[in-house]
Amino acid sequence: MSTTLPRPGVAPATARHEVQGPRPALRPVSARGPIIVALGALLGAVVLGVSMGPADLSFSAALRVMASHLPFVHFHSGVSRIDADILWQIRLPRVVLGGLVGAMLAGGGAAYQGVFRNPLADPYLLGVAAGAGLGATAVIVAGPHMTELLPLAAFAGAVAAVSVTYVVGSTVGRQGATVSIVLAGVAVAALLTAIQTFLQQQHAQDLQAVYGWILGSLTVATWSEVVLILPYIAVSAVVLVAHRRLLDVLRVGEDEANSLGVRSSRVRITIVAAATLGTAAAVAVSGLIGFVGIIVPHTVRLTTNASYRVVLPVSMIGGAAFLILADIAARTVLSPSEIPIGVVTAFVGAPFFLFVLRSRRVGRST
């Protein structure tokens, strides 16, 4: 019996580098429209996320509980202590954490796709998944007294893996080439996954814990996880959004970007560092939730046909909405049992993405 990390960055490696379709002409689209639509979707997802769950609680009860937690407001919700705790301590942090993680994975995916000019790039491309997986597995097999260190170990593993990838990849290849960085990512991920698999097989009694972490979950989300990752995700989001126009410049190619006066290697390392920091934080508390980083940015791109100026912020908002909705399915479809959220994102997300891809093709041919 063997389980390996899902390695979104590994399988299609040979066919992957520098894939470029015909570059669609960028329409001068206003960012406002798509952002308003995405914010509407996010608001809807939050309302649903707060009002739906295995525990039977009304939306008005949810509103009253939230109102009672507003600062300087002395308001008694009239909801029982247990129900209030369920909403405030269990359900709400889960919605918020799902939103943060979804925003980060989708934003990170969009940024990586821009930097590496590769439609298959996702936030796990340079070894985040393998590094975090190794860190988490090492802590799980080390025993119960180490449990609190799990997020830290996953975070450290992810950051270390990407650092090694970047340093090795940018020194062995042609100056400024992204191919060697992507290939270094494949090698680093393979190496770390091998070590992770070895550790896991040596401690078969922990198989379920390791596997559960790898599949990704928001099951035990609390406010402390939210507080833990918020700074990283905020910094990462600000840096990525600030670089959205430069991503458009990189899109025309390394040499062209350089000739336009953009120092592409410096832009690239800044974006990769920001995306890695945020993704590592997200992965540290939620495990490896797949597909979000690929399907959300592409869906945004296909429906708006816009530049990164639009794609990046809309992907973040849309990713938050998508993961909140996926988590609703994870906790209600088989209620009171849970479904791993990674299963939901793939099961719902992949067909939806194919649908968008198809309608887009039909739309173009006419």
Partner: protein, 316 residues
């Protein structure tokens, strides 16, 4: 801690020797089947993996199941055990090795020159591979019911030449369980419990072996409301908000060793402190290893639960 003595086999066996025809140690296989407590060889066992022929009384047993290891020592076959797997941590005297049932290394097993290999299942095809070496493999899969667990004493007794001791041990476990159930406070019947397998809220329904054992005390399992319980083999992952809203009277933690959980860690979980079980001190810690096995120590587990229930009744 435990008012009932459990490690009985040799003592009881000696005591019974006057009553029963023979008991244990003789290696004389002359008499007809079943007449001698040592059993007779060759013998064929109807096991989970088919009809298994054992030609002679085994003298080098390899056990790849912690539960089976416990059962072997309980029926007095410990001296015939050559090697046990790395998870067989009880009794301490068992010859623990690095063997691992989940990834059995045929060469490593054969190196012990076993004349009987005991496994908790044959998903890896060990039976077929050891056939080439003429080594019989007996599969004793995880018990789905108490009756399954009891039957395995008989199979092991027949396979190892301890028929009578196995019968005695089986009867002893049965009578201890019956006694605990009889003593359990009836007033608490109808109370609910949540059984925790790990800190991500995996649980066990009352259709599982452990669920049936705890169900003997008349408690209702909140995980039974999970519609997917059957699909997940009776081990669904529950939502935290469902557990809290169900507000069970009791919380049983079978993740104390694996995951370091305790009454304190449960009370510290956000949203859990208002629960009745937490408030009343009804968070009962169990030994994960015992709770995941179906051997003789299941009596200890049931006793722990019953003691908690009785203590509660005494204080109310």
């Amino acid at each position: 801690m435990n008012k009932r003595s459990r490690r009985m086999p040799s003592g009881i066996c000696a005591g019974l020797a006057l009553l029963v025809a023979s008991c244990g140690s003789t290696s004389d296989n002359s008499a007809g089947a079943g007449a001698a407590g040592a059993g007779s060889f060759p013998t064929t066992i109807s096991a989970a993996n088919g009809q298994i022929l054992i030609k002679a009384r085994p003298r080098a047993i390899v056990s790849l199941s912690p539960t089976v290891t416990e059962m072997l020592y309980a029926i007095g076959a410990g001296s015939q055990v050559k090697a046990v797997d790395k998870y067989s941590d009880y009794p301490k005297s068992a010859p623990r090795t690095t063997l691992d049932d989940l990834q059995p290394n045929v060469e490593a097993i054969v190196a012990y020159r076993p004349d009987l290999v005991l496994v908790p299942g044959d998903s890896t095809g060990l039976t077929g591979r050891l056939k080439a070496f003429d080594i019989p493999v007996l599969s004793l899969p995880p018990a789905a019911t108490l009756a399954d667990a009891y039957r395995q004493y008989g199979e092991l007794g027949q396979a190892t030449g301890h028929v009578q001791a196995a019968r005695t041990e089986e009867a002893h476990v049965k009578s201890q369980i019956d006694q605990i159930v009889a003593e359990a406070p009836k007033a608490d019947a109808g109370q609910t419990y949540y059984y925790e397998l790990d800190q991500t809220y995996f649980s066990a329904t009352s259709s599982t072996f452990i669920g049936q054992v705890i169900g003997l005390l008349g408690l209702h399992n909140i995980a039974d409301r999970a519609p997917s319980a059957a699909d997940s083999g009776g081990y669904p992952q529950l939502s935290a908000e469902f557990i809290v809203q169900s507000n069970p009277d009791w919380i049983f933690l079978a993740d104390t060793i694996c995951c370091g959980q305790s009454a304190q860690t449960v009370a510290a979980r956000p949203g859990w402190s208002a629960m009745t079980a937490v408030h009343n001190g009804h968070v009962v810690t169990l030994n994960d290893d015992i709770a995941s096995r179906w051997g003789p120590r299941i009596v200890d587990l049931l006793q722990t639960v019953e003691t908690a229930l009785a203590k509660h009744r005494a204080t109310t």
